[in-house]
Symmetry: C2
Subunit: 675 residues, 2 copies
């Protein structure tokens, strides 16, 4: 019942407001930066934590290596940035890695990238919101131990905001992102000065010793230790997600689009790298401890931590130490970090339906996800994304450490295939270019992409090896499933298209010999009379009025009314021994078709149209069922003759109601696509 | 999405089996008795318990009055039986109290009876199944403390069995009901002999003292005590439910129908009364204690009962005492009691949808509940009843004592109004009868009904006064709600009928001046060509093929294909600035209507029909949405031109599939209605 769900949706997401279409306001760099930054920068809120947490398994001494792990992540990050600067120049259309891989490596590669990205969008939401709810618990102790339910509530809230279609504005992103940057900048500056002047305090957790887990008695020495460092690096590589977002958003930039996008990308990379190193550096300097389970791994003088000890995120711990004498700054840094995490989740709510729409256009996902201007298409995407993210949060109890094991596999699949596609792109272009300068530039680009490919492939291998059994297999399984579903859908559409293809134009254009019109009469009232008039207006070869005697008394009454209305046409009464409306009509239609198989039967069904959902519950069900059955009978056309009751004027789907022009609303993510 | 729910239903309730229609096998008395007995007799499983439980509040001494309370219930029961013997003679059509009240007292009274009966059907299910799960716990200790969830599971099971449409047979009822009667008979006989010979043991609970609650220190003396006796009587009156069932089932009896029904009714009353008195008598003789909370109310030598003490139902306690040396009989009595309670619940699953169907026919409930031959109608009723009963069981935690407070209000409303209607019935008939003998019989009948009315009205007043604050208000509230909903629905149907009535036959028969045919083209494939052929076959005044340029490339492709197919008709491309399919078509249709308001526009929509539910998810949505919008535009006919894809042959709703002929299955309860 689409109408009931319409009504429910109305209650949940409110009456759609008619708003002017978003103008083609292209983004200057100062606005584009915050629009695309939240996803990439927000990972600084959990990536350092995961590095420290993973290293902590080998005991306190292993923390000394954390800056080097951070540095490795930064190197990969800057390499990826350099690679994507080539992509945005070569593919300014905003197709991103899916387009690059499909164009250069074929549809299977494109589909692999698409599956990977879709799964990663879900994980972006799950990880960001879970992390955000932990930040919330840092400033709001009442939220502790309720992180999962809070995270689920936040996902639902973000989904609802996106379903309502709040008008997105580039400047709306600017404030929280710049606030976050400013807060982090002040923290870096104040912390740096304190460190230089020797006045930097130590974190509350610095008093604890970190106990090595069994198997890591030798610290980071040996095979297990080396593996652990690689795992720490893999987790830290979560800082790279979101870098690819700009490559999907080139059309949204002001001209020269590609150049501005490339510059913004570089800026983003530098800011992200700086932030990451700042957090890791300050964590070292203040002696922050961050472990999986404080009660098992932390100790003071051989005693475990006190019962009520709660471990805050690393940025929270640093802010508490640096701004020990000035709590407002602590709250500002923590709150803006939480906020940017939610913005990052919101990014996925823009990216997921957009990619789904592209995949739908290419025939890999149901058509309903396609139509760009249709909000419903995006609504479906939003709901699917929210449900998937909620499921993950629920299963993993909003634990960032466990969710992060599933994360970034997808992003690195996209990175690797995207860069491989770029290499092929340059290889194909090079032979046709003769100008030495242009060739030099292309070769430079190719070299960058080749290095990017090599490095991201290496990281992908490291991520797969170190995380596979920890949860990456789940992500890979989901990607495989999605891939299979998309291939299946594509095949189905192809199969249907083949079946519907016209082989013989002449046969397809052959006219039926005669037209038999049947008018279904359930009562003698205005809708029936209208159906009869309309049927007569089409001048069929034969015209019959039929009624089904489901109830003997009722059929008798219809016959009497028919005579009273003086209709110049006999009424045929079909017997219904089983008191069923549908079958006698079906049998009758089939008997006509049997006699003259080349004729056409047009069944006129009078319907009256009501306005409220509850009225729809009270009416018209038998006509609907009959129609759905008749669809399966060849050679039959069903003509619905509607009669609009007075109440239909206030219908939810009344096209005259300006509030109903759903197509007018800007779809989420439009601002990023430059539409 | 009706197809998805179809698929889900298929999984739950199985593929409908084609079965021959139930023959007109009318019931002889020996079969009719068990068919109608389960509801009326099963109450002996909880009515004595509730009498003892209520009396126990005033301490052990009050148990001495229990036979007198039982006797009062028996008197009312026999009065009601005598009254209904008049009803079945006067109204052999099986309409029951609803018909009697509607015919004699007007539709409002009829509606009151109907609301009351519907609410009581729900309570029959809730009380019987709750009681049944307590009997189960008596023989199956593992079930203890899980009574509510077991009861909910049993309701779901009974509902499922009814949804699957197990072929009902009168003889199917005979075995368990006669088994129950036999078990109770043997228990009465053996217990009676033991009592007469002084060898009757005492119940396990007889060792306990029953402590009076505060306020009842004087026992049953005083106002509070008197009120308590009335309350005990009200609860015991639950034994009367089900007596009215025969009045709805007269057509199922063999001829002479009325006489046989009256005889069966008398038999039923006598057996019920005997059973009730037997149970109460044996409970007295064996010293059974039955209280609300054994841990608060029972004591032995001033000490409370042991921790693990569990209180069994009265029949269970008696069977344990009488058959102390022979456990199989104890199990048989308990198990057959549990079984008959489930049969009683099943009765409501027959009665509720039948009454709903009658109310629907009279325009008080949605039409979908009407069509008798259509299983779907009964399915809806079954599901509604099951959900309502489950809700009650859940809210009241399957506690019979609390549920019984809501019970029987409805039945006594029906009794009272039914008898009042009967008095009026005789009053209206009397003046036209002259034969002295006939007049005498009528006057005798009227006297019986008058006495029945007076007594049931008195009992209704007692029930209302003693139970109102204990929960009867909930039942009354539900009846009021149901009454209001039914009045509302009736008004709505009336309103629509008025709106659709033909005032001016000539105007209604006026033909539209011209017919404009539009064929919607989304792609150039077989379905489109078929739609075009069919449209041409109807020889419209004008014919246009239109396509909406939702996507520029796609529209260009359609135009090229159109030219390639050499269709001798230009293709009109409608612009869609908002990439929306629906609005351009609507605007175009409206523009035609504006130019020539008396013309008719027929929109031919090619549709292809698929077989699997998942295929339906992948196709056709935009056409559906367009159709639902066009319905609201006056002067438009929507002609669906279906193209059956190969997969449609295995569709769920394929009319050629013999398994699908839903109308063939006997509906639940048919055996009771003599259909």
């Amino acid at each position: 019942m689409p109408d009931l769900s319409d009504a429910a949706k109305r209650i949940l997401v409110g009456r759609p407001v008619r708003s002017e279409r978003l103008g083609h306001t292209l983004l200057p760099k100062r606005i584009a930066l915050p629009v695309f930054a939240s996803d990439a920068l927000s990972s600084v809120a959990y990536a350092p934590d995961e590095i420290l947490l993973t290293l902590s398994l080998a005991g306190l001494a292993s923390y000394t290596i954390s800056p080097w792990v951070g540095l490795a992540v930064v190197i990969v990050m800057l390499t990826v940035v350099a690679s994507y600067r080539q992509t945005v120049r070569a593919y300014p259309s905003g197709g991103g890695d899916y387009e690059v891989a499909t164009t250069n490596l074929g549809p299977r590669a494109g589909l692999t990238v698409a599956s990977a990205l879709q799964v990663d969008y879900v994980l972006t939401v799950a990880v960001s919101v879970s992390s955000g709810s932990h930040y919330l618990a840092t400033v709001l102790p009442a939220a502790r131990d309720h992180e999962a339910i809070i995270a689920i509530g936040l996902v639902a809230l973000i989904a609802l905001i996106n379903l309502r279609g709040v008008r997105e504005s580039g400047t709306g992103f600017a404030f929280p992102v710049y606030l976050f940057m400013a807060g982090m900048g002040v923290m870096a500056l104040v912390g740096g000065i304190q460190w230089a002047t020797g006045t930097l305090g130590i974190a509350e957790s610095a008093q604890f010793d970190v106990l090595a887990e069994p198997g890591y008695e030798e610290g980071l020495m040996g095979l297990a230790g080396g593996f652990l460092v690689l795992r720490a690096f893999s987790s830290g590589a979560a800082a790279l997600t979101g870098v690819e977002a700009i490559s999907n958003g080139v059309p949204a930039f002001r001209k020269p689009k590609s150049k501005n996008a490339a510059t913004t990308l570089l800026l983003l990379g530098l800011i992200g790298a700086t932030m990451l190193m700042t957090v890791i550096g300050l964590a070292r300097a203040t002696g922050v401890r961050f472990v999986q389970d404080p009660h098992l791994q932390l100790a003071m003088n051989g005693q475990p931590v006190p019962e009520g000890y709660e471990q805050d995120p690393v940025i929270g711990q640093i802010a508490q130490t640096v701004f020990a004498g000035f709590p407002p700054m602590f709250y500002l840094v923590t709150a803006s970090t939480g906020l940017i995490l939610l913005l990052a989740a919101n990014t996925a709510f823009n990216g997921f339906p957009t990619l789904a729409s592209i995949l739908s256009k290419d025939g890999y996902l149901p058509r309903q996800l396609y139509t760009r201007g249709d909000r419903l298409a995006f609504s479906n995407g939003i709901i699917i994304l929210a449900l998937a993210a909620i499921a993950l949060i629920w299963v993993f109890d909003a634990e960032v450490t466990r969710l992060i094991q599933l994360y970034i596999v997808g992003v690195f699949v996209a990175f690797t295939l995207g860069q491989l596609g770029m290499i092929k792109h340059w290889n194909e272009r090079l032979p046709s270019v003769v100008a030495a300068r242009e060739r030099g530039a292309m070769k430079r680009s190719r070299a960058i992409n080749a290095f990017g490919f090599a490095l991201t492939a290496l990281v992908l291998a490291v991520v797969l090896i170190t995380k596979f059994t920890h949860g990456a297999w789940i992500a890979i399984g989901l990607m495989g499933l999605l891939f299979a579903v998309m291939v299946f859908i594509h095949r189905h559409y192809q199969h249907v298209a083949d079946e519907l293809e016209i082989e013989d134009v002449a046969a397809a254009r052959a006219l039926p010999s005669r037209v038999h019109a049947l008018v279904l009469v359930s009562k003698v009232h205005k809708p029936t009379m209208r159906a009869l008039s309309y049927a007569r207006a089409t001048r069929p070869s034969t015209l019959q009025a039929i009624t089904v005697a489901v109830d003997r008394d009722a059929a008798e009454q219809v016959r009497r009314d028919w005579d009273a209305a003086e209709v110049p046409l006999p009424l045929t009464v079909l017997d219904s021994p089983y008191r069923d409306l549908t079958r006698p009509v079906l049998e009758y239609v089939k008997s006509i078709r049997r006699e003259s198989p080349r004729d056409l039967v047009v069944v006129y069904v009078p319907e009256y149209v009501v306005g409220h959902w509850w009225e729809r519950v009270l009416h018209n069900q038998s006509a609907l069922r009959l129609k759905s059955r008749l669809l399966y009978t060849p050679g039959v056309v069903m003509a619905s003759v509607p009669w609009q009751l007075a109440s239909s004027a206030r219908s939810l789907v009344n096209p005259d109601d300006p509030g109903e022009r759903l197509g007018d609303l800007p779809a989420p993510g439009m601002v990023r696509r430059g539409e």
